[in-house]
Amino acid sequence: MTNEIILHLGNVNSYYGRGKARKQVLKNISLTLHKGEVLGVVGESGSGKSTLAKCAIGLVTDIEGERKLNVENSQMVFQDSYGSLNPAKTVGWILEEPLRVRGLRDKKELRRRAVEMLQTVGLEEEHYDRKPSQLSGGQRQRVSIAASLIQGSKLIILDEPVSALDVTLQAQILQLLVDLKERLDLSYIFISHDLAVVYQICDRVMVMYHGEVVEQGDVDAVYDNPQHEYTKKLLEASLSLG
């Protein structure tokens, strides 16, 4: 980990809806992500985790506050790999699209890059011509990861990337994410409601509750010695389940 800052949010507020129905989803959020770091964001559903992800990466632009992104390319990986891959296209087309819109036209080169990326995420050339519906959930999530990386993204926001998978697949995909981070020099924001998974992969963790950050710090420190009531409750709940 270096001190180079990849992403900085300063006192960000975000709202949803208009007029009387307008609701504040994010309250005064600040975060800094350093190069090579994995920042976990935990909280129950509705706590604003996904909105935070979309604000951080620029999908939600209607925000108050300061936002600075210091990488050229960033991408998201979503929980539902079925929705994040275009059902009408082949895996090859999906992987080549980011290169095409950047002006690469040579078909052979496009295919070479796509196949190379498939192998990087543990798939084979035979998956190139498949439709997303012809892949298993684990394979689809690998393709989503490949699609997020092919444009040379250095920041990936992972929004519950393994929550839809069974436990063995979870372990495989998490291992893949760790390997890729080392090999390709990536930084992650890892959003999850699963504290055990966050503990495995993250360096630092942020606990969100009703749109606010109630606690943040190194994973070990927060897990060993939680300060906020909500964090304690979350940890107890996950321990009693585990």
Binding site: L59, M76, G83, N86, V101, A147, Q151
Partner: protein, 268 residues
């Protein structure tokens, strides 16, 4: 076990048969479709006149061959105008949403609140009758229904994660609309096209039937049915054969549409 899709198969067979009939009619008719003969007035079906003859001794088989060509041409041209304009309007409104979408959709509501044939009659009354005016009038009136269909499909897809990923990748909006989202909507749009085609055939037939569509002596199926009603008892074959062709045309295309919808249902 995979269920056989009889609707689709039978629909394709009927449509192909009618299409072959139409194509033949464009290049060859046994008699000149407008040639009259006093000796053959009200001649019943026979070997020399398969479908019989009308009140002016014109060969009904030849006129049907020619008439179906006119009807199909008008229907396809109507569809082309209505669908293309509806596609662009619906795609942009559905993808972007917002105030302009709201305004455009209210205009569409207003147009579809009237029966389309009635509105077409009003338009024809203003711009005059004739083949091309019918196409223009019907085509414009078909735009709202297609716009709405396309819009609802785009609303379904615009917030999907693959669209979010495309935005983050920097894919230009028009490319997202027409290259990323559009291919997903084809099954629904095709099925909508078959319904639209049938409506266009019926609209042309009813307008010509009312005497404001295709002008004599040109033959179209609706035109022929309109003339035939005066001779329903003297020459019933005049009504039966063109009527049968309209039914087959609509049935075939309608079954294809139903088959496509069944396919979509199977997938989900």
């Amino acid at each position: 076990m995979k269920k056989r899709n009889w609707y689709l198969r039978l629909g394709v067979v009927i449509t192909f048969a009618v299409a072959a009939f139409t194509l033949v009619g464009m290049f060859y008719t046994p008699y000149d479709a407008t040639q009259m003969s006093s000796a053959d007035k009200y001649a019943p079906p026979s070997l020399s006149h398969l479908f019989g003859c009308d009140q002016m001794g014109r060969d009904i088989f030849s006129r049907t061959l020619e008439g179906i060509g006119t009807t199909v041409t008008i229907a396809l041209a109507t569809l082309a105008i209505g669908f293309l304009a509806g596609l662009v309007i619906g795609a942009l409104c559905g993808y972007y949403g917002g105030l302009i979408d709201e305004i455009v959709m209210r205009i569409c509501d207003a147009v579809t609140a009237f029966p389309s044939t009635l509105l077409a009659i009003v338009v024809i009354a203003v711009i005059g009758s004739g083949k091309y005016n019918v196409i223009a009038a019907l085509g414009i009136l078909f735009i709202p229904s297609f716009a709405r269909l396309v819009r609802s499909e785009f609303i379904k897809y615009r917030d999907r994660d693959f669209v979010n990923m495309a935005k983050l990748t920097g894919v230009p909006p028009l490319r997202i609309i027409f290259v990323h989202i559009l291919p997903n909507t084809w099954p629904v749009l095709l099925s909508g096209l078959t319904i639209g085609f049938n409506n266009a055939v019926l609209a042309e037939a009813s307008m010509s039937y009312l005497g404001i569509g295709v002008t004599p002596p040109d033959a179209s199926l609706g035109r022929m049915l309109s003339e035939a009603q005066g001779y329903l008892f003297t020459a019933p074959w005049y009504t039966v054969f063109p009527g049968l062709v309209v039914i087959l045309l609509i049935l075939g295309v309608g079954m294809i549409g139903e088959g496509i919808r069944e396919r979509i249902g199977e997938k989900v």
